[in-house]
C-alpha cells in the first residue's frame, strides 16, 4: 500500500536518507529498525508529509503522496505530548477535527475508545493530572481515532508500564486484524519479533536489509544446535559436526554443535545416542537483535 522509492534527504551538510526504497504491504505490520540517528524519523516525516524529500517519490495505494492522504495516516511521534492546560476530551476532539472528522462523529468515537481503554471519566481532566502512561493512552487514541489506513508508531512502547503496553499491543493487533497497516519505528528489537511481519533495517541513512521476519531469520540461521545429555561421554568434532563449546552442569553436559554443510540434526543425534541419554535439542536461532547488531557492526567496520 505504501511504496517509498529512492528517497534522498539532505540537511545542509548531513545526508539523512540516501536512496532509501521500501514496500509496505497492506494489512501487515512493518518494522522500521535502526540505531538512533539512522534516519528513521526523517523517513517517517516524509511519509507523514511533514517534510518533503529532495528526490525520490512516495506512493500511497498507487497514488503519489498528496494532501488528501493526510486523513488516512495516523502518526504517533517519538517526541509526543499534549496541551497541558486543555481538557483531555477537548484535546482529542481538536486533534481529530484537524484530521477532518466532524464534531459529532469524533465525540462518538472518543467516548467509545475512552470506554474501551478504561478512561471513561477522563474527559474533563487536564493533562497535568495524568501520569505519563495515561497520557500515552490518550495519544494512542488520538492517533487511531480517525480510523487511518496506515498507522505509524515511533517507539510506541517507550514509557508504558507492562500492563498498559500489553493493552496497547492488543489494540494494535485488533486494529491490524480489522485491516489497518502499521509501521513501527524502533531500535528495540524485542517488540519487533512478536509483532512485525516485515522489517527494513536502516543504518547511516541507508537501508541495509529488508524482508519478511521469518525469511530474514532463516537466512541468518547458522545451522548450530545446543544438545543437552546425561552420561559420562565427551564428543569431539567429526565429519558431521564441529564442537563449538562444552559445558558440564552436575552430571549433565551441554554441547554446542555446528553442523557441517548438508548435514542435518538427526545425523548428529544418531552419532550421540549410542553413548548418552538425550534430554534436549535446541536450534541456535539468531534473534533480530543479533542480526541487527551483526549488520550494523558489519557496516560500521566497512
Amino acid at each position: 500500500m505504501l511504496s517509498v522509492k529512492n528517497i534522498v534527504k539532505q540537511y545542509a551538510t548531513h545526508r539523512a536518507l540516501n536512496d532509501v526504497s521500501l514496500e509496505v504491504e497492506k494489512g501487515k505490520i512493518f518494522g522500521l529498525l535502526g540505531p538512533n540517528g539512522a534516519g528513521k524519523t526523517s523517513l517517517i516525516r516524509i511519509i507523514t508529509q511533514i517534510t518533503a524529500p529532495d528526490s525520490g517519490e512516495v506512493f500511497f495505494n498507487g497514488e503519489r503522496l498528496n494532501a488528501n492522504h493526510i486523513p488516512q495516516i495516523g502518526y504517533l511521534p517519538e517526541e509526543r505530548g499534549l496541551y497541558k492546560k486543555m481538557e483531555i476530551g477537548e484535546q482529542v476532539l481538536y486533534l481529530s477535527k484537524l484530521k477532518g472528522l466532524n464534531s459529532a462523529e469524533a465525540t462518538k468515537r472518543i467516548k467509545h475508545w475512552f470506554e474501551k481503554l478504561e478512561m471513561k471519566d477522563w474527559w474533563n481532566k487536564k493533562v497535568e493530572d495524568l501520569s505519563k502512561g495515561m497520557q500515552q493512552k490518550v495519544q494512542f487514541v488520538a492517533t487511531v481515532l480517525h480510523q487511518p489506513e496506515l498507522i505509524i508508531l515511533d517507539e510506541p512502547f517507550s514509557g508504558f508500564d507492562p500492563v498498559n503496553a500489553d493493552i496497547i499491543k492488543n489494540e494494535i493487533l485488533e486494529l491490524n486484524k480489522n485491516g489497518a497497516t502499521f509501521i513501527f519505528s524502533t531500535h528495540r528489537m524485542e517488540s519487533v519479533e512478536e509483532l512485525c511481519d516485515n522489517i527494513a533495517l536502516i543504518n547511516k541513512s541507508k537501508k541495509i536489509l529488508d524482508g519478511a521476519v521469518d525469511e530474514i531469520k532463516n537466512t541468518y540461521r547458522s545451522n548450530a544446535y545446543w544438545i543437552e545429555y546425561e552420561g559420562n561421554y565427551e564428543t569431539s568434532s567429526n565429519d558431521i559436526y564441529e564442537v563449538l563449546q562444552t559445558e558440564k552442569v552436575k552430571n549433565h553436559t551441554l554441547v554446542k554443535l555446528q553442523l557441517k554443510p548438508n548435514r542435518v540434526a538427526n545425523e548428529a543425534l544418531s552419532q550421540l545416542m549410542p553413548h548418552v541419554n538425550i534430554h534436549r535439542l535446541d536450534e541456535v536461532i539468531p534473534t533480530m537483535n543479533d542480526i541487527f547488531i551483526e549488520k550494523v557492526k558489519g557496516q560500521n567496520h566497512e
Binding site: 545542509a12 508529509q49 518533503a52 529532495d54 502518526y75 486533534l95 484537524l98
Partner: protein, 444 residues
Amino acid sequence: MNKILLIIQREYFSRVKKKSFIVMTFLTPLLIAGVYALIGYFTYKGIKDTHDKVAIVSTNKTLTEKLSSNQNISYTYIDQGLDQAKKELGKAAYDYILYLPEFSLNEPKGIELFGAKQPGMSLNRRISGDIEELIRTQKLKESGISQGDLDKLKTTVEISTKKIAETGTEEESSAGASTFIAFVAGVLMFMFIMMYGIQVMRGVIEEKTNRIIEVIVSSVKPFQLMMGKIIGIAMVGLTQFMLWIVLTLAISTAAVSLFVGKDEAKQITASSQAQTQISGGQQVTATAPQGPIADIQKSLAGLNVGKIVVVFLFFFLGGYLFYSALYAAIGSAVDSETETQQFMFPVMMPLLLGYALSLSVVTNDPYGNTAFWLSMIPFTSPIAMVVRMPYGVPGWELALSMAILAVGFVATVWIAGRIYRVGILMYGKKTTFKEMFKWFTYKN
C-alpha cells in the same frame, strides 16, 4: 483553510476563556481609571495644598510696596529681628522666614529664605516671581504711571490654534490634546505589540516543549499552524482592545459625571475667589487647572477620532503581524523561554527605539524628517504613525506607510514561516543566527 479556522478557534477560545484574560480585561480599565483618578486627585490636592506661610523680616527702606498674599503663599510682615524670628521658627505660625535686606531696586541682592525644612523649587520660584513683580510695579509707579494705568496694562492673551486641512477647512485643534492622544496611542501600540507578540512566542514554545507540535504538523502545514496562532491571538488582542475601550469609556464617563463634575465647579468658584483677592495685577495662575480639560474636550471634537481609531487598528494589526511573525520564528528556534534572550534583543531594539523616538522627537516635531522616516520604516511605523496621527498626516504619507507596512509583514511572515517549519522540529540544540539562516534556505 478549514483547518486554519480550527486552529484560530482553539487559540482564541483557549485564551479568552482563561481566568487571567477575564481578570485582566476587566481590571485594567479600572486600574487605568483608578491611576488617573489618583494622579488627578493628587495634582489637584497638591495645587490646593501648597499654601505656604511666609513671615517677612524686612530692613529694607527702598521697597515701599508690600508683598501681598496670594493663592499659594500668605505673607505676613513681622516686627522682629532676624535672629529672634529664626529662634521662634519651630514654634511660630509660619513655615518660612523671608529676609529682605536693604538693596537697590536695580540690584536686589542678599535676599534670604529660611525654613525648618528645605524650601522647594516651586516656592523659591514663586517668591522670587512675586518680588520681581513687586519691584517692577514700584519702578513703574516711580516713573509716573498710576495704579489705574497699571491695571489697564494687564491683558490676558489666549491663542486658539487652528489647523488648515488639505480640504481648506479650518479645524479646531490643540497642541495639548494632540500630544495627549499621541502619547496614549503610542504607549498603547507599544504595549499591544509587545504583549501579544510575546504571547505568540510563548504559544510556539509551549507547543514545542509539550511535544505536541509533531502530532499537529502531521495534520496541518506548519505555516497554517503559525498563521492560525498569529491570527487567533490577534483576535484576542482586538477583543481585549474593544472591551477596554468600551469599559474605559463607561467607567470614565461615570467618573466624570460623579467626581470631576462637582470638583470642577468647586475649583472654578475657588479660583474666582482667588482672583478677587489678588489686587494689583499679580500673576493669574488660577485659571490654569480647568484650561487643559476644557481644551481637550473642545479639540477632541475637532480631531477626527473615528479616523484615528481606524488608523490605529490598521497599524496595530500590521505592526502586530510584522512583529509576531518574528516572535514566532524566535519561539520555534528555542527549547525554552530562557533561551530567547539573544534573539529577543534585535527584535526589541527597533520597537523600543521607535517608541522612545516617537514620544520625544515625533511629538516635538510631528512633520519633521525624523518623524517622516520613522513612520515609513515598518519596524517603527506602527508607533510613529499613530503618534503622528492626531497632528494630522497627509493622505499620501499615510497610504505609503500602510503599503510599506503591508509589504513588510508579508515579508516577515514569509521569512518567519521558513524558519518556523524547521525550527519547531529541532530539539536539544542551541540555535544560532547562522543556523536560523540555514533553516531559511532549506527546501521544504
